[in-house]
Structures are given as C-alpha cells and as structure tokens.
C-alpha cells in the first residue's frame, strides 16, 4: 500500500520566514509533485521531479523552490513566505510512466 506522508498537517508562519514542507513516499516512486489547492482553483502544480536532483517547474513556481536529494523525499521551500502563499499544499508521487498519483494528506499553511 502506497504511503505518502507530509511533515506537518498545519503550519503557521510569519511573513518573510523561510518555510520547509517535506514529503516522503515509501514505494520507490520516481516522480514526485507539489501542488497547492485553493478554493475555486483546484490543484495547481508548483514543481515536480522525475529523479533525484532533477526538478521541473510546474504552472506556478514563483516564490517556491524544491529539493530532491533522496528518491523518497521531496521538499518544498518558501524562501520568504508571503500572505498569498496561505494555502493547502499537497504532495503526490507516481511510479515511472504511471498515471495514477498518490497523494499525501496535505499541509495547511497559514502565513500571517
């Protein structure tokens, strides 16, 4: 059974802080994704990675960076958090060319 875990369920940060969101999957999946979910907008892709140390920009990468030093771990970094980054952040993974994404439970981030 695929398991995708995210380091925090809820986070409260101040404007300007550096924020790290971590995602770990235990099924040896090659591909990992970070999305944010906002009301009325659905899920929007921030960044994805198809291999260790590889990353590709998604649709809304501005203000974010990522790190993938190990296959099972994909980190999302907010270099200087802003209030418009208040959102639900979802991590997902897929195996190879598989189409089905397995999602973590999400991190609800509030930036004050």
């Amino acid at each position: 059974d695929v398991k995708v875990t995210q380091s925090s369920r809820y986070l409260v940060k101040r404007t300007g802080e550096k924020v790290f969101l971590e995602c770990v999957q235990d099924m040896d999946h090659e591909n990992m994704f970070w999305y944010r979910q906002d009301p009325g907008l659905g899920l929007r892709l921030i960044y994805f990675s198809y291999d260790v140390k590889m990353k590709e920009k998604g649709d809304i990468p501005e203000g974010y960076s990522v790190s993938r030093e190990k296959k099972e771990r994909f980190s999302l970094i907010l270099e200087s958090a802003s209030t418009n980054q208040t959102s639900m952040y979802l991590c997902a993974s897929t195996l190879g060319t598989g189409k089905t994404q397995y999602f973590g439970p999400g991190t609800r981030l509030l930036v004050l």
Partner: protein, 113 residues
C-alpha cells in the same frame, strides 16, 4: 486560464439516486483523464480513469463517459451513498505534457439520506 473546468461547485443528491458530475476541457492534446475523490483533511485518492481511445469506463458504481468531440467528460455514481459525500476533482493529461496533470476546481457532492 484553466484548461479543465468543473462548472458546478456543488451537487446535492438523495441516497440511492444517480450523481452526475461534469468536466469540460479546452486542450485537444489531452488524452488521459482521471477522477479523484477527496475527503476533508485527507489527500485526494484515485477513483477512476479513461483513455481517449475509449468513450466509457466502468468500475462498480462509478462510470466515466468521454465525449472527445465536445471535450467533455462526466462521472456517474449509481446508486449514490452517504460515503460518497466528498469533493471530486477531474484531471487531464496529454502525451505532450509527460505525467503533468491539469485539475479542475472540484465539485462538492453531498448525499442526503
């Protein structure tokens, strides 16, 4: 501009009746479509998918229909059960977009007894 649209933000249906969720897309390169279900405080979970070479795919109570000419797909849930109350997301991907999916805004389904 959103390439996948779910124009109904919410749907209320009686237990035992049919739920029909709609999804429209604009990108003619999309060739694979999925539906995900999301409960509060949980991540989305895969429900059912369809490739563009088919026009229908069925899995138990869930059936997805694809109308390529209209760029429209729908999810039918028959019969609806209280446990089906959730947010449903439609997602689409194309051969040119490797593994990247565009998601709709979601439809909140409430199944009433």
């Amino acid at each position: 501009d959103q390439q996948v649209k779910q124009n109904s933000p919410s749907l209320s249906v009686q237990e035992g009746r049919i739920s029909i969720l709609n999804c429209d897309y604009t990108n003619s390169m999309f060739d694979y479509f999925l539906w995900y279900k999301k409960y509060p405080a949980e991540g989305p979970t895969f429900l059912i998918s369809i490739s563009s070479i088919k026009d229908k795919n069925e899995d138990g109570r869930f059936t997805v229909f694809l109308n390529k000419s209209a760029k429209h797909l729908s999810l039918h849930i028959v019969p609806s059960q209280p446990g089906d109350s959730a947010v449903y997301f439609c997602a689409a991907s194309g051969a040119d977009s490797w593994g990247k999916f565009q998601f709709g805004a979601g439809t909140q389904v409430v199944v009433t007894p």
